[in-house]
């Protein structure tokens, strides 16, 4: 079986011959290891895809190119971002938020078109992915539909948005409603371009981390809007949503378990979450995870190998399907020997 076939088998609810590896955010490593700057991800898609393809072959990764970013919401709704530059930047950052007060938030409406902010570049990238040979891809194309709480918090800036959860819940809910409507419109636009068959919707949600908000706030603000969006996406005909439940979200996990992800969906976790507990909460989904990215970047090859072994062995025993992956974006500056150590662990322990 190749990696694409393994995903097909998992989606049928069966076990493949071997655990596949999903390189979450792997385009950064693919570029940096080929001596290109990170910003290439956002402005040179030919180079990005070429590096990604070669890297995926070299390390036996799933070939899953996508263009997603966690600052989504600011630029798209009228603010500004800054593309990564310099030695240490990893991702775009927000230079100006579109709203600065509850009143501005409440008067904000949807932009005239979803082709705004990063979206036109993303669509261009998706079209290039679509033109790639189909047999090497696990999905025809992977498109970003960002988590609504993160998207909404990016409109106002985290500090202000978090205060509104207590002081101005009306403004917070308004932005969350806009996020749902924007994402639905974007998903409809993408459906018009690519259809829904073998299209995976990728969605991250770092801003709901319990390092930031309580499970009660999650239940009151993030949960109803997320469930509403996912219901609309699945009603549209999309089969699977890949949800990266980013960071420390143990206190939110039961709530997340009530969010429909598709049939099956993909539930991806940070290293903070125990996969056995997650499997009990997401019995119908494929679990993705969750090797600590800091270890991949800063640990020794032996440490990475041993930690990967533990997760792969645990993942294989889960009653759900399992895809091995970093617990968040693969650090672009990871030592290649540590990437190799993960693959060595998969070769040694990943076979069913």
């Amino acid at each position: 079986m190749n990696n694409s076939e393994r995903i097909d088998v998992l989606q049928r609810g069966e076990k493949p011959d071997k655990v596949p590896f999903f390189p979450l955010g792997g385009n950064g490593f693919a570029l940096v290891s080929n001596n290109y700057p990170i910003v290439t991800v956002y402005n040179d898609f030919e180079t990005t895809l070429q590096c990604y393809r070669e890297t995926a072959v070299a390390y036996d990764w799933l070939y899953t190119p996508y263009l997603a970013y966690a600052s989504m919401g600011a630029w798209e709704m009228g603010g500004e971002i800054r593309l990564p530059d310099g030695e240490f930047s990893q991702a775009p950052s927000i230079a100006r938020h579109p709203v600065n007060s509850p009143e501005e938030a409440l008067s904000l409406g949807l932009p005239e078109t979803v082709l705004t902010g990063m979206v036109p570049r993303q669509v261009e990238f998706y079209k290039k992915v679509l033109a790639e040979p189909d047999d090497i891809k696990a999905w025809k194309v992977i498109c970003q539909i960002e988590g609504v709480f993160t998207f909404a918090s990016n409109m106002a800036g985290g500090s202000m948005f978090f205060k509104w959860l207590i002081r101005r819940p009306d403004a917070a809910h308004h932005l969350l409603g806009l996020a749902v409507d924007f994402m639905e419109r974007l998903a409809r636009h993408l459906k018009g371009l690519f259809g829904t068959e073998r299209v995976l919707l990728f969605s991250g949600e770092p801003a709901t981390s319990n390092a930031l908000i309580s499970p009660k706030m999650f239940a009151e603000f993030a949960l109803p809007h997320t469930r509403e969006l996912h219901r609309r996406l699945l009603d549209m005909g999309y089969r699977s949503i890949f949800k990266h439940i980013c960071g420390e979200q143990n206190l939110n996990l039961e709530h997340w378990g009530t969010v429909p992800l598709g049939s099956p969906g993909f539930a991806s976790f940070g290293h903070e979450v125990d996969l056995e507990r997650a499997a009990a909460i997401f019995p119908g989904d494929i679990l993705v995870g969750n090797l600590n990215p800091s270890l991949i970047q800063s640990g020794s090859a032996d440490e990475v190998y041993r930690a990967a072994e533990k997760i792969i062995e645990q993942g294989k025993r889960l009653p759900t399907g399992f895809v091995f992956a970093p617990g968040c974006s693969l650090p672009p500056q990871s030592p290649p020997e540590n990437i190799l150590a993960m693959q060595r662990a998969l070769d040694d322990f990943g076979w069913y």
Partner: protein
């Protein structure tokens, strides 16, 4: 309870419950009753912030509550600060240069550390976000702080800390360096050559105090 203690208690409680009107009223009473504003800050406002920090540690408060407590504390400081005599500022435990490292614009965690260090009696020089490594070094050369504290939220930007540590040591071999942020662990901090590590803002105060104790030895 004396009038003074009663006002301090109200200041503390109002910060804890992020009641800005109550903070302003109690702070005004501090001045009306000729109570030492420095003592009111320490035993009232900072006490409330420290109690909030404890609730944060216990996962009863999260970032939104802490941010609102900080706003309430700031309301009190606006009233009391102008009445603190020069050279009679709060007894400081130490001086800290603080910033999020180059390439990283995340502010919330760093700002919480600033708040808690400030409430904990440290004098904090906040350099802001995405601070060039050379700026940390320049500021340390200029201020000679006891501690340089660096924050990062991403695995990529945390590598800036590894580069910054020897630069800071070359500038000032005696400086204590602490690091924190989501991707870090104590083990990684040690690998980078840092003296201290904290996983959150409350822990940062205890860690800064530990580093200050070591500096006394």
């Amino acid at each position: 309870m004396t009038k003074k203690k009663e006002i301090f208690s109200r200041l503390s409680e109002a910060v804890l419950k992020f009641e800005e009107d109550d903070v302003r009223a109690a702070a005004t009473e501090v001045l009306d009753n000729n109570i030492d504003p420095t003592e009111a800050i320490l035993s009232g406002l900072s006490d409330g912030m420290n109690r909030a920090g404890e609730l944060f540690r216990l996962q009863e408060y999260f970032v939104p509550e802490i941010l609102l407590c900080a706003d309430a504390m700031e309301e009190g400081l606006k009233i009391l600060r102008p009445h603190i005599q020069r050279n009679a500022e709060r007894g400081e435990k130490g001086t800290v240069i603080l910033g999020t490292v180059e390439g990283d614009i995340h502010a919330i965690g760093k700002n919480l550390v600033k708040l808690m260090l400030d409430a904990g009696g440290f004098k904090v020089h906040d350099l802001g976000e995405s601070v060039p490594l050379s700026r940390f070094v320049e500021e340390q050369g200029r201020l000679g702080a006891d501690i340089v504290a660096m924050s990062a939220l991403m695995t990529t930007t945390m590598m800036a800390m590894k580069k910054a540590v020897p630069m800071l040591r070359e500038c000032d071999p005696g400086v204590s360096i602490m690091v924190g942020g989501a991707p870090l662990t104590r083990e990684i901090a040690e690998k980078f050559g840092a003296d201290g590590y904290a996983s959150d803002a409350v822990g940062a105060v205890a860690e800064a105090e530990r580093l200050m104790d070591l500096r006394q030895v």
